[in-house]
């Protein structure tokens, strides 16, 4: 009964309702996506949250994850917004290729990213070796490495969202400001950024969620040490054997954060039309 009602409701949206088989397959697909979340929620020992969350492993991972993901977000805004401006407003030869390189980490397996980060910033790396020899700075196994790994995988999400937003800012507004004598900084601050704000906020939310969930590049580049480089996803992976209840709790915290990000972005992703 209910199904029929919703079928009818769907058909009123636009066009003709899909064949029954497609609906069944769609429901199976939905179950595949949602059942793991239901299972996780049911297994989490919610009544013992207070006691588990004060477990030093959980607490350290929580603190490190929140701190490092926020720093990664800040770095992504400071470097990613200018890069998005370059992509949206400047034409140069080979731009499609350069742009593809910049967003490659979105589709790259994170472990590969971690190996690449070692090759670039490791003790024997392209930049890492001179850095170690001249300045005595080594990045692997430090909290800075956690931030770099998170920035590497998350910044592209901010770049593509902001760039798309920039393309929707009416260029006539900028032209008008220029004819009124505003310099480039003023136009950026007073015209472009205010118009860009919704895209920037969405990009920041996506970027932060991705940074918070980062695993592969982190464990490869930064290693795993509680309090220094063991973020929440690493703790989930390594605690599952020793202390499964803590692992379920951390997983559920990450789940709640992800849901919160989706809700915050509901205008973009949860709209049905």
């Amino acid at each position: 009964m209910n199904d029929n009602a919703s079928l009818r409701a769907t058909s009123t949206l636009s066009g003709v309702a899909p064949p029954r088989t497609a609906v069944v397959l769609g429901v199976i697909g939905f179950a595949l996506l949602v059942l793991p979340l239901v299972g996780l929620t049911l297994r989490t020992p919610w009544t013992r949250v207070g006691e588990l969350i004060t477990d030093p492993v959980v607490l350290q991972a929580l603190r490190l994850s929140i701190g490092s993901s926020l720093v990664a977000l800040a770095v992504s805004v400071v470097l990613g917004v200018p890069l998005a401006l370059v992509f949206a407003r400047i034409d140069f030869p080979g731009k499609p290729f350069v742009r593809a390189l910049a967003v490659l980490p979105m589709v790259l397996p994170p472990v590969v990213g971690g190996v690449g980060l070692l090759a670039a910033f490791g003790r024997r790396g392209l930049v890492g070796q001179p850095l170690a020899e001249l300045a005595g700075i080594t990045l692997p196994f430090t909290s800075a490495a956690v931030v770099i790994a998170a920035t590497f995988v998350a910044m592209p999400f901010l770049i593509v969202t902001v760039e798309a937003g920039l393309r929707m800012v009416d260029p006539r507004l900028e032209d008008a400001a220029a004819t009124l004598g505003a310099d480039r900084w003023t136009i950026l601050r007073r015209v472009v950024l205010p118009a860009l704000w919704p895209s920037l906020a969405a990009g920041m939310a996506l970027c932060w969620a991705r940074a918070l969930g980062e695993f592969g590049a982190t464990i490869t580049f930064a290693g795993n040490l509680p309090g220094r480089t063991q973020t929440m996803p690493l703790a989930v992976y390594l605690e599952l054997e020793r202390n499964p209840e803590a692992a379920y709790l951390i997983s559920s915290i990450l789940l709640v954060v992800s849901v919160a990000v989706l809700v915050a972005l509901r205008d973009r992703f949860l709209q049905t039309t």
Partner: protein, 262 residues
């Protein structure tokens, strides 16, 4: 496809004389190692750390028993034990630690008691040429040294911690890697100065890391038990392969990969 077959034939042709030499030197145990008339499919569940060495032992076994077709499933011992206890159709289980074998025994899934067939000693992996002249566990206490250990959630990490504690060495590791191979790779890449790993891990990567032995009185070796499973679909072949692994021929191959006879 044809290329692969040819390669295999070639490998066989090359390996056969070697095997005959190996058998010739092993004496009386040969007879029990290659009993006649075992055949059919044999499924062996073997710990991930045995991958290279065990595959060669199996290859030698198949050459001695050409009617047997062996399928080896490698995974972490804990995963394998869980699969067996959930009814996976396997004949033989070779575990990287007695705990997981005990779990299978406790569930009543062993045909008879397991036997320890090999041990894996701990050793220190260092960069080729040992530039920091690391001599033993005590040198790992140096706070300027970048040391990585396997996390204590995996057996190698527990054994490393036990060895360090027993030797009274206080270390400040830079990372607790998710498994022993990851710890080794940090040394291979030059990111870490030293890692505590298994001797077999060093033997498998001789070109990229050097090994520093840990003396027997400080060592915490991993024991590897093997057993025929209660529901083995092919018990005769299962018995034969276990006997072969325990024979001198099997032990010689394991020794070449850095394993030590029990």
């Amino acid at each position: 496809m044809r290329g692969a077959t040819r390669t295999r034939t070639l490998a066989l042709a090359l390996a056969l004389p070697l095997l005959m030499i190996a058998c010739g030197s092993t004496g009386p145990s040969d007879d029990e190692a290659s009993p006649d008339a075992v055949s059919g499919e044999l499924v062996v569940f073997a710990a991930a750390s045995l991958t290279d060495a065990f595959d060669e032992v199996i290859e030698a076994f198949v050459q001695a028993n050409p009617d047997v077709e062996v399928v080896v499933n490698h995974a972490g011992s804990q995963t394998l034990a869980r699969q067996i206890n959930e009814g996976a159709p396997a004949d033989v289980f070779a575990s990287a630690n007695p705990d997981q074998m005990d779990a299978v025994a406790a569930a009543g899934n062993l045909a008879r008691d397991a036997a320890i067939f090999t041990t894996n000693l701990l050793a220190i992996a260092v960069e080729p040429g040992n530039p920091l002249s690391i001599d033993g566990l005590a040198d790992l206490a140096d706070p300027d040294l970048v040391l990585v250990l396997p996390t204590e959630e995996v057996p190698a990490g527990r054994y490393a911690r036990e060895a360090l504690d027993a030797a009274g060495v206080e270390v400040s590791p830079s990372s607790l890697e998710q498994d022993v191979r990851a710890a080794r790779s940090k040394v291979e890449l030059g990111e870490a100065d030293a890692a505590i790993v298994y001797l077999s891990d060093i033997a498998a990567s001789a070109a990229r890391v050097d090994g520093v032995d840990i003396p027997a009185e400080q060592n915490v070796p991993a024991s590897y038990p093997i057993a025929v499973l209660a529901d083995a679909p092919n018990p005769a072949a299962a018995d034969a392969v276990v006997a072969f692994v325990l024979s001198d021929a099997g032990q010689d191959i394991l020794a070449a990969y850095g394993f030590t006879a029990p």
